[in-house]
């Protein structure tokens, strides 16, 4: 019995040693450089409509998909299990409403965060014969690849947010991504941090590709600039746990000068920990969620908000309709601009009428149903 447990532990320990050498590469210098280059580019496309803009990229011919409208579009969604996806999904539905003359039906299957279900959902769409085009927001990259490859044989596919390991989709729409986020945020902290200042990195979960790359890029810059990162902790996205962790760090180090976050959901909780401890606010990078922006404005923080803009949910709908009309789209990779909110444009994005977990860069102000559909007043 106890031998069995010992064996189990020993086996797992061995596995963990072995895996050290095999960790996936979330710290790819080439990707880092590519993101840097993209950040330096000027977006092309209609002004004021970042969801239709692109950074570099070429147009692909879609005349072979051309058919008479209106179209039946199907959408396999990874899930709506967090506010970012909820805001995005609301935005997408409104975009469908805008194009209602071209779209006869828009059918969604929600995979609820399960790869296995999403594969079945995609297969069902393909065999249903009710889809002229398929939009996919994959739950994970590798797992969805075969299902999407199979779907590509039958109909035009548009992928967004996370990618897949195949270039068979007509286009893959996404912003610059995690490396860009890491570069933008770390550079801000480096520029504001007093010499020898202590930085605490708060992360949500290990192993999530978009989050890992944010951290690897930021950490690379921190190292290059000799920044004193006193800790990198996982909060699980939990406010109470975030406060507990920050509280522990404040006690341990007396003062924390800057807080770097790989996602902004718990930014306000982190700031509250400083309030509760009676300490001055740190320099902080959050995200474009209203509760953080509001706090920033109210308290006059030294802050910036990077974004993983939710307006990217508009682009795939637009792309799908263009493809079915035979109009060219940017592909096979369509890079959207990934703006940041700085002090100067803060006022533009703070909106008391919007709910706390709303994302300011939804690109949804011109859409039907705004602001009620997004929970605003």
């Amino acid at each position: 019995m106890s031998k069995a447990i010992l064996g189990l532990v020993a086996g797992a320990a061995l596995a963990s040693f072995a895996s050290g050498a095999l960790a996936q590469n979330f710290d790819d210098p080439k990707e880092f450089q590519a993101a840097k280059d993209l950040l330096a580019m000027t977006p092309e496309g209609p002004a004021g409509k970042p969801w239709e803009q692109h950074l570099g990229g070429k147009e692909v011919d879609t005349s072979k998909y051309k058919k008479p409208g209106p179209y039946r579009i199907c959408f396999s969604n990874a899930g709506v299990d967090n506010p970012w996806r909820v805001v995005g999904w609301t935005t997408m539905q409104a975009q469908v409403e805008v194009l209602k003359n071209d779209i006869k039906s828009f059918t969604v299957a929600d995979a609820q965060g399960k790869d296995d279900k999403q594969i079945s959902d995609i297969n069902a769409f393909v065999s249903s014969g009710n889809c002229d085009a398929l939009i996919v927001s994959p739950n994970t990259t590798a797992a969805l690849t075969p299902a999407i490859e199979a779907a590509c044989q039958k109909l035009p596919v548009v992928v967004f947010d996370r990618g897949v390991l195949t270039d068979c989709p007509v286009t893959f729409v996404n912003p610059i991504g995690g490396y860009g986020w890491g570069i933008q945020t770390a550079n801000f902290i480096v520029s504001k941090l007093p010499k020898g200042g202590k930085v605490l990195a708060l992360r949500i979960l290990p192993g999530v590709d978009v989050l890992e790359t944010r951290w690897s890029a930021a950490n690379r810059i921190f190292k290059e600039n000799g920044v004193n990162v006193v800790g990198a902790e996982f909060t699980g996205g939990d406010n109470a746990k975030t406060k507990a962790i920050v509280d522990d760090y404040i006690n341990r180090f007396g003062a924390i000068d800057a807080v770097w976050m790989d996602a902004g959901a718990t930014a306000v909780a982190a700031l509250e920990a400083f309030e509760d401890a009676g300490k001055p606010y740190p320099i902080i990078t959050g995200e474009d969620q209203e509760d953080f922006l509001k706090k920033w404005k109210e308290k006059g923080l030294t802050a910036m908000a990077p974004t993983y803009p939710t307006y990217q949910w508009r682009s795939p709908v637009i792309a799908a309709v263009r493809i079915l009309k035979g109009e060219p789209v940017i592909g096979p990779t369509w890079k959207l601009p990934q703006p940041v909110i700085m002090q100067a444009d803060l006022d533009k994005y703070v909106d008391d009428k919007m709910p706390p977990l709303h994302y300011a860069l939804c690109g949804c102000k011109d859409l039907p149903g705004y602001p009620q559909a997004w929970g605003g007043k």
């Binding site: 019995m1 532990v9 790869d115 296995d116 065999s127």
Partner: protein, 327 residues
């Protein structure tokens, strides 16, 4: 529970339940009804039906094993974590190499069996309640796994992907395997001594012990079967997802859902009564719900509410005539 234990072992015919046929008919009516109502008649053709059956495989395999644990009067909350372990281990060992397939499968099954032995031994030897024992083992597994792997680890070779992506004619291997496993499980439960002992121990552990059955070995055996089925589900997922990640089991909620479909299928949570065909019917109902909600294009939240209500109602239908006490 104490009252049910006082009842003599149920006669064989009592072990049959009206549940499987009712669930089967209900699921088919729901699926066909929704398909006709929404005009998606293509979903009634071969591809659509195969797609529906494919939805059953992952949950179905592990639920077969969970049926064994529950019939024996136990429960296994560690299956979701073990599924993750199995999936990660398989793809980690294979590293995309076909010649490692056999070794990987054997190691995964050996580890799974070992976890089953540990579960069963903690329950029967250390006398820890199954709920806590398997919850604890699940936490231990998940912790070790997540500390060792943070993402998809390795990959499975093309040959191994055939498990999930190939077909006999129109029937996918995996669907055929699910029904073959169900037939095997059914045979073990009905025609072997081990099966008879499972029902005896689950129905009345003390009585079984007095009758000379090694109840501890039966409990361990039930958990080995359960863990092996979790291992198989892990292998299936590794094949279908091309790799294993430490969250595939947890995200699939295989622990709670496998228990839910087993009891929906008419297996008594207290043990001693039930069978695998009811479980498969429960799995079919869950798969049908997924498919039907997709066809209706309704958001996922009402489905969560409905799913919870179905779990309660289905089980209440079996239990509300129970005399005596249940907690």
């Amino acid at each position: 529970m104490s009252d049910q234990q006082a009842i003599a072992p149920a006669p064989a015919w009592r072990r049959y339940s009206a549940a499987p046929p009712l669930l089967l008919v209900g699921s088919i009516l729901l699926y066909v009804g929704v398909a006709l109502w929404t005009g998606q008649t293509r979903m009634l053709e071969t591809d659509g039906v195969i797609g529906l059956l494919q939805r059953m495989v992952g949950l179905g395999i592990v639920a077969l094993g969970q049926t064994f644990a529950i019939i024996a009067g136990s429960i296994d909350l560690s299956v979701a974590n073990l599924i993750s372990v199995a999936a990660v281990l398989a793809s980690f060992i294979m590293q995309g190499r076909a010649d490692m397939m056999l070794a990987a499968v054997l190691i995964v099954l050996a580890v799974s069996a070992l976890v089953g032995v540990v579960n069963g031994a903690i329950i029967s030897r250390l006398q820890v309640s199954p709920f806590i024992a398997t919850l604890g083992v699940g936490l231990i597994l998940q912790g070790l796994l997540s500390a060792s792997f943070t993402d998809f680890a390795g990959s499975v070779p093309k040959e191994f992907q055939l498990v999930a992506y190939s077909t006999f004619g129109v029937v996918p291997y995996s669907v055929a395997a699910l029904f073959a496993l169900a037939a095997l499980a059914s045979f073990v439960l009905w025609a072997t001594r081990f099966g008879a002992h499972l029902y005896a121990v689950g129905g009345n552990a003390e009585g079984a012990r007095l009758a000379g059955i090694r109840t501890d070995l039966v409990t361990i055996g039930a958990h080995v079967v359960c863990s092996l089925s979790a291992g198989l589900t892990g292998l299936y997922l590794a094949s279908r997802l091309r790799s294993g990640a430490p969250w595939v089991g947890r995200d699939g909620v295989y622990d709670l859902e496998s228990i839910a479909v087993v009891v929906i299928g008419g297996t008594l949570l207290a043990g001693g009564r039930g069978g695998v065909w009811g479980t498969l019917a429960g799995v079919l109902l869950f798969a049908t719900l997924d498919a039907a909600f997709n066809m209706l294009g309704v958001s996922a939240y009402p489905k969560l509410v409905l799913r919870g209500a179905i779990v309660i109602l289905a089980v209440a239908v079996y239990t509300f005539r129970t005399r005596g006490h249940v907690a």
